[in-house]
Amino acid sequence: GCARDTGTPAAGGDAAGTECARNAAPAAAGGAAAPSAAPIAPNADASALRVGLAFDVGGRGDQSFNDSAYAGLERAVAELGLVQDNTREVAAATGESEDARVSRLRQLATEGFSPVVAVGFAYSESLTTVAAEFPDTQFAIVDSVVDLPNVTSLTFAAEQGSFLVGAAAAMRTTSCQIGFVGGVEVPLIQAFEAGFVQGAKAVAPDVEVDVDYISPAGDFSGFNDPARGTEVARGQLDSGADVVYHAAGGSGQGVFEAVAAATTAEAPKYAIGVDSDQFNTVAAPTNEVIMTSMLKRVDVAVFNFINAVAAGDTSVLPQTFDLSVDGVGYSTTGGGVDDLVADLDAYKAAIINGDITVSSTP
């Protein structure tokens, strides 16, 4: 028969021959650029506070940003003297209406919880309503900006963290092809995509990045369908990608399983987790393929917010939790990026310096 002249090799991805030219990492710009390891403000006494936490869909146990928010609360209990009994968590339901969110926040405010933390951009409208009704209550919202004096917006430069894991992926790949699996094609997730692609291109301008989303905007099933997530990831792996980064919520499990199934001793494949350190949250042995996770430190933000409220001044909080305040970052658990840390930190410094600016749109 005649050989086909189109197409890339199918399964296996033994692309040893593919040359992937890589740029050198930016020169480290001195210690000045190192992130402020020191706390944003000294610990205050939060024993008098009653803290309410309104989760987004998924709630506690999502191994993602809801859990991360809760970790911030727990840290406040441990370090700031917050009394566990003075905290309350409530969670949202799928597809619920605006008034349900309003009621939830109002309920917390009415019962005297202050501060109240709304986790997720879905709360922006409802929080605008409720915060106006309760001017004496302190509120915070994660992932969104609400312009009211008693609301603190806790937003994250997810694109910066994603840039670093994108860089790591480009350094790690042997096939010069990497993948991004988004859960739902919404702006929040597109920021992850944007950072990842920029980071990868910064390292290896020729790297091919496969970008796929499980479902389009408005169909939130993409965050909750690991069976389809796994197929998207397998598609990328089969077409030659060897590092896959996911920002797909619950579907991410499917991505890890796909990578774990595809990895072999001769041709290892890697996955990159998101939001929390997923090497710790995903069960072994699947977690062995997780080389790093893009950390979005909702816990840091929540902890710092509670601390700031306890201290009586929320103005010390940063506009955006970015690399410079460790609001985003990457994890090193499992040692998957130990050999890359030096280069990655150089990129990190360059971003903090402003030598590299990361755009949040693809």
Binding site: V90, A93, T94, G95, E96, S97, E98, D99, A100, V102, S103, R104, R106, Q107, T110, F121, A122, S124, E125, D143, S144, V145, E185, V186, P187, L188, S215, P216, A217, G218, D219
Partner: protein, 361 residues
């Protein structure tokens, strides 16, 4: 009145049965059913819960009417979900793009929503009438397709606007909004009035108009209706399109009364609720109103269950079991009544002197 009794007895029995079932589930899981009921009822007085119940009930009422129009003809419009969402999205887009004098602006938005709902329901209607495709299957497929259509329309490079991390349509100017009634504890949507009017219109349509008669006749016996001059294909198309048109309105109370735009986080899932509430209310406008209020009460008061550590999902069990038991109860009562009526008729006729033996003519 035995007629009223026969209309009210089944739902009462069903609610009792469902409540008993939930009570058992609660007791097994170590919670007190009475406390649960207590906090749920107490919740009605909290904040804007009462108003939220009314607002939600209005929405449920609209979707349930849409479902009921189909049910009257034994058509199952599972596609209400897609119809109302697409209609709300397109109406919000149009409403945001145009600027018109107050009442007119609102009217245009409403008309657009009705048209989009009708057109989207028209696809399964035509497929059913001319290609014999089961409306159940085609509407299920179209629900998925409408998700894609919404996503396409709301893309920032089509009609969407980025609002922080949310995407929404261009906000509707105040001229297009539907003013509500501020109660002090929340604002009752102006569209509640529209829902009530729809109910009245539905009742009138069904009981007083030729169309309603034909609809019910087709549902009762398609063959007899055809022999009686009812055009079956036409009825299928009109019923489904009308159902879609009503469904198209369901997203508007929130779009015109609170959100003023369609966003990624706009609610979903009303379509299924509509089917359930219509079944609960036995397609009767008063029954549906009751069903919608019950459903909304369960939905909105459930928030209080969080406070006493009872899983909120008990409410879902309540809703599911009440629907199943209500249809069983209606069926049992219906059979019993028909047999009783036949007996009664026979008894009365036996009373008539020698009527049976007489030979006429």
């Amino acid at each position: 009145m035995s007629r009223i009794r026969s209309a009210l007895l089944p739902p009462a029995l069903a609610i009792l049965f469902a409540a008993a079932l939930c009570a058992v589930a609660l007791v097994i899981s170590g919670a007190s059913p009475l406390t649960a009921l207590g906090v749920m009822i107490g919740q009605v007085g909290q904040g804007t819960t009462a108003v939220d119940i009314v607002n939600s009930a209005a929405i449920y009422y609209i979707v349930a009417l849409a479902a009921a129009i189909g049910f009257q003809m034994k058509l199952f419009n599972i596609g209400i979900e897609g119809q109302y969402r697409l209609a709300a999205c397109v109406a919000a887009i149009v409403g945001g793009l145009i600027v018109l004098p107050p009442v007119l602006h609102t009217l245009v938005i409403i008309v657009v929503a009705v048209l989009v709902g009708a057109v989207w329901a028209g696809i399964p209607a035509l497929l059913k009438a001319y290609r014999g495709v089961s409306e159940v299957i085609s509407t299920i497929m179209l629900n998925a397709v409408s998700l894609g259509a919404i996503a396409f329309l709301i893309r920032p490079d089509s009609f969407g606007v980025l609002q922080g991390n949310n995407i929404s349509t261009k906000p509707i100017e105040p001229s297009g909004q539907f003013p509500g009634l501020d109660t002090g504890a929340g604002t009752i949507f102006g569209m509640v009035v529209v829902a009530v009017l729809l109910g009245v219109g539905y009742w009138f349509l069904l009981n007083r108009t030729r169309f309603g008669f034909e609809l019910r006749a087709s549902g009762e016996s398609a063959t007899a209706a055809t022999a009686g001059g009812v055009n079956a294909k036409r009825m299928v198309i009109i019923a489904l399109v009308l159902s879609g048109a009503v469904a198209g309105l369901a997203g508007l109370p929130e779009v015109l009364g609170r959100d003023f735009a369609y966003t990624l986080t706009s609610p979903q899932g009303y379509g299924f609720t509509g089917l359930a509430v219509a079944l609960l209310g036995r397609n009767h406008p008063a029954g549906i109103a009751f069903g919608a209020l019950l459903w909304a009460f369960l939905d909105k008061s459930a928030i209080a269950l969080d406070n006493i550590g009872v899983p909120r999902d008990i409410v879902l069990i309540m809703q599911g079991s009440v629907v199943l038991s209500v249809v069983v109860a209606y069926e049992v009562v219906r059979r019993y009544e028909l047999a009783a009526e036949q007996r009664r008729v026979a008894a009365q006729l036996r009373g008539a002197p020698a009527a049976d033996k007489e030979v006429v003519g």
